[in-house]
C-alpha cells in the first residue's frame, strides 16, 4: 500500500525538480536564442562536429615533423624513435646529403597509425627535437589500412 503523505511529498518534490530544470534551462535557451550572452548554457551538450572540447596542451595527437628553414625535415635519421617505439610503427630509410652540417636525412619516414599507440616515446627519444605530437588532430580515420600509413609529406 502507498504510504500516505511521505510518498506524495516525494512525488511532488520529483515533479518540482524536473519542472525547475525545465524552466531554468528553457530560460537560458530562450535568452541565447535572442542573442543575449549568458554565462550559463541551457544544456551541457557539446554539439560535436561543429563544436569541440578544447584539448589539453599536453594531449598526444597526430605526429608532426618539424622542418628546417630550407624545407627539409629536421630529422637526422638516427632511428632512435624507431628503436624506442613499443608498437614498432615508425619506418625510416636514411640517405646522405651534401650539407656537411646535416650529413643524414630520412629518404622515407612513415608512421603507421594502424599500429601507433600514441605513447609519445618517440617525442622524448628524439635528440634533435624533430618529432612532436601536438597537432591537435584526433579525427584519424580511413577507409583502409593504407590510408593510415602517413608518409613524411603528411606529417
Amino acid at each position: 500500500m502507498i504510504k500516505g503523505w511521505v510518498v506524495i511529498k516525494e512525488i511532488l518534490r520529483g515533479a518540482w525538480i524536473t519542472a525547475r530544470h525545465f524552466t531554468v534551462n528553457m530560460w537560458f535557451h530562450t535568452l541565447r536564442l535572442f542573442g543575449v550572452k549568458t554565462r550559463r548554457k541551457g544544456a551541457v551538450t557539446i554539439q560535436y562536429p561543429e563544436e569541440t572540447k578544447p584539448l589539453s596542451p599536453r594531449h598526444k595527437s597526430l605526429h608532426r615533423i618539424l622542418r628546417r628553414e630550407n624545407g627539409l625535415p629536421q630529422c637526422v635519421a638516427c632511428t632512435m624513435c624507431a628503436t624506442v617505439c613499443p608498437s614498432e610503427c615508425i619506418y625510416i630509410e636514411a640517405a646522405e646529403t651534401e650539407d656537411p652540417e646535416v650529413q643524414k636525412y630520412p629518404a622515407s619516414f612513415v608512421v603507421d597509425l594502424n599500429r601507433c599507440c600514441f605513447c609519445g616515446f618517440c617525442v622524448e627519444a628524439c635528440p634533435v627535437d624533430a618529432i612532436r605530437m601536438d597537432t591537435g588532430e584526433i579525427r584519424l580515420a580511413s577507409g583502409g589500412r593504407a590510408g593510415l600509413e602517413y608518409p613524411l609529406e603528411k606529417l
Partner: protein
C-alpha cells in the same frame, strides 16, 4: 447541402488539429525530456540545411516507419492482427468530435458551434469510447499468438478496467454539480462566478475530483508511470509482434490519448474555452472595470485559451512521463482500488452532502 459541408469541414479541421498536435507531441516529448535532463535533444533532421530546432524529426520518423516492412508473423491471426491497431486508433480518434473548441459563432446568418457534434451525453460518450479502446489492446495480444504479448494485453486490460472505475467515480461528483452531460453546456456553466470573483471552474468546485480524475486518466493513456501494458524495454508488451505503420498506429494512439485527456481535463475542470471574466461582450472584471471587445476578438481569445489549456496539460503529462519510474503491478492495483476508488467515492459523498445542505 451547406450544413453537410459545414459538418464535413468541422470533421476535417478537428481531425487535422488532433493529428498535427499528435505529430508535434512526438517532437515536444523529445525536446522537453531533453531540456529537463540538461540535454539538447533531436536537432539534426534538416531540410536543405534548415534545422528549425529539429521540427522535421516527426516527418523523418514517419518516413522511416512507412518504409519499414509490415511484418505479420506466420503464427498470428492475420485478420485480427491487422484489425487491432485500427480499432485502438479509431476509438481514441473518434472522441475528438465531442470536444468544444469555442463558443458558437455567427457566420452568414448561421450559428456554427465550434464543435463537431454537440452530443447530449458527451461525457458518457467519451468515457465509453476510451473504454472500447481496450479491445484494440486485447485483440492485438490475442491475435499475435505470442504468450508475452498476451500477458501484456491482459495486464493492459486489467489496468484500464480498474482505472476506469476511478475515472467514472471522479466524474460523478462533477456531474452532480454541473447541470448537464453536454460538454458545451458544461463549459458555458463554468463561465459563472463563485463568491463573486472566482470563475466557476471544475477545479474550484471539485479539487479532489480533479486529482482522482487526472491520475486515473494518466493510467488510461498507458504512459510511463502506468506503462505496464507496454514496458518496451523490460516487460514485453502487447504490440511486440507489430512493426512499421501498425506499430506507429499504437504509438499514435498513445499520443492521441494524451491529447484527449488534456482536452477533457481542460473542458471539465478548467473551463474549456472560458477566459476568466470574459463574456460575449468583452471583459467584465469583478472589481468593476469593463473592457469591450468585438465578437471576433472574443472568439479568437476563447479558442486560444482552450488551446493554451490543452498545451499546458500535454506539457504536464510529458513532464510526468519523464519524471516518475514505473509502478509495480501490485502497487498499481493497490493504488487504483485502495486509494483512488475510495477517494472518488468519498468525493461523491462530500459533494452530495454540500449540495444537500446548500
Amino acid at each position: 447541402m451547406i450544413d453537410a459541408l459545414i459538418i464535413l469541414a468541422k470533421i476535417v479541421l478537428a481531425l487535422a488539429w488532433t493529428m498535427i498536435l499528435a505529430l508535434a507531441l512526438t517532437w515536444v516529448e523529445r525536446k522537453e525530456s531533453a531540456v529537463m535532463q540538461d540535454r539538447i535533444g533531436a536537432n539534426r533532421a534538416s531540410v536543405f540545411g534548415l534545422r528549425a530546432f529539429g521540427l522535421f524529426q516527426p516527418f523523418a520518423d514517419a518516413i522511416k516507419m512507412i518504409f519499414k516492412e509490415d511484418f505479420i508473423p506466420s503464427f498470428s491471426e492475420r485478420f485480427l492482427h491487422t484489425l487491432a491497431p485500427f480499432l485502438s486508433f479509431f476509438f481514441v480518434a473518434v472522441t475528438v468530435v465531442a470536444v468544444p473548441f469555442g463558443d458558437a459563432i455567427s457566420l452568414g446568418g448561421r450559428r456554427i458551434a465550434l464543435q463537431v457534434v454537440d452530443l447530449n451525453a458527451a461525457v458518457l460518450f467519451v468515457l465509453a469510447m476510451l473504454s472500447l479502446g481496450i479491445y484494440g489492446i486485447l485483440i492485438s495480444g490475442w491475435a499475435s499468438r505470442n504468450r508475452f504479448a498476451l500477458l501484456g494485453s491482459l495486464r493492459g486490460a486489467a489496468q484500464l478496467i480498474s482505472y476506469e472505475v476511478a475515472l467514472g467515480l471522479s466524474l460523478v461528483g462533477l456531474i452532480m454539480v454541473f447541470p448537464s452531460l453536454r460538454l458545451s453546456e458544461i463549459v458555458r456553466f463554468q463561465g459563472g462566478l463563485v463568491f463573486g470573483f472566482l470563475p466557476k471552474w471544475g477545479i474550484f468546485l471539485q479539487p479532489l475530483g480533479f486529482a482522482v480524475f487526472f491520475i486515473a486518466a494518466l493510467a488510461e493513456t498507458k504512459r510511463v508511470p502506468f506503462d505496464l501494458p507496454e514496458g518496451e524495454s523490460e516487460i514485453i508488451g502487447f504490440f511486440t509482434e507489430y512493426s512499421g505503420l501498425k506499430w506507429g498506429l499504437f504509438m499514435m494512439t498513445d499520443f492521441l490519448e494524451v491529447i484527449i485527456v488534456s482536452c477533457l481535463a481542460a473542458t471539465l475542470f478548467f473551463g474549456g474555452w472560458q477566459v476568466p471574466w470574459l463574456g460575449p461582450a468583452g471583459f467584465a472584471f469583478p472589481w468593476g472595470g469593463a473592457w469591450h471587445l468585438p465578437a471576433w476578438m472574443v472568439t479568437v481569445l476563447q479558442v486560444a485559451a482552450f488551446n493554451l489549456k490543452v498545451f499546458f496539460f500535454c506539457w504536464l503529462q510529458v513532464l510526468i512521463r519523464w519524471t516518475y519510474p514505473r509502478f509495480r503491478y501490485d502497487q498499481l492495483m493497490n493504488f487504483g482500488w485502495k486509494f483512488l476508488v475510495p477517494f472518488g467515492a468519498f468525493n461523491i459523498l462530500a459533494t452530495g452532502l454540500v449540495l444537500a445542505l446548500k
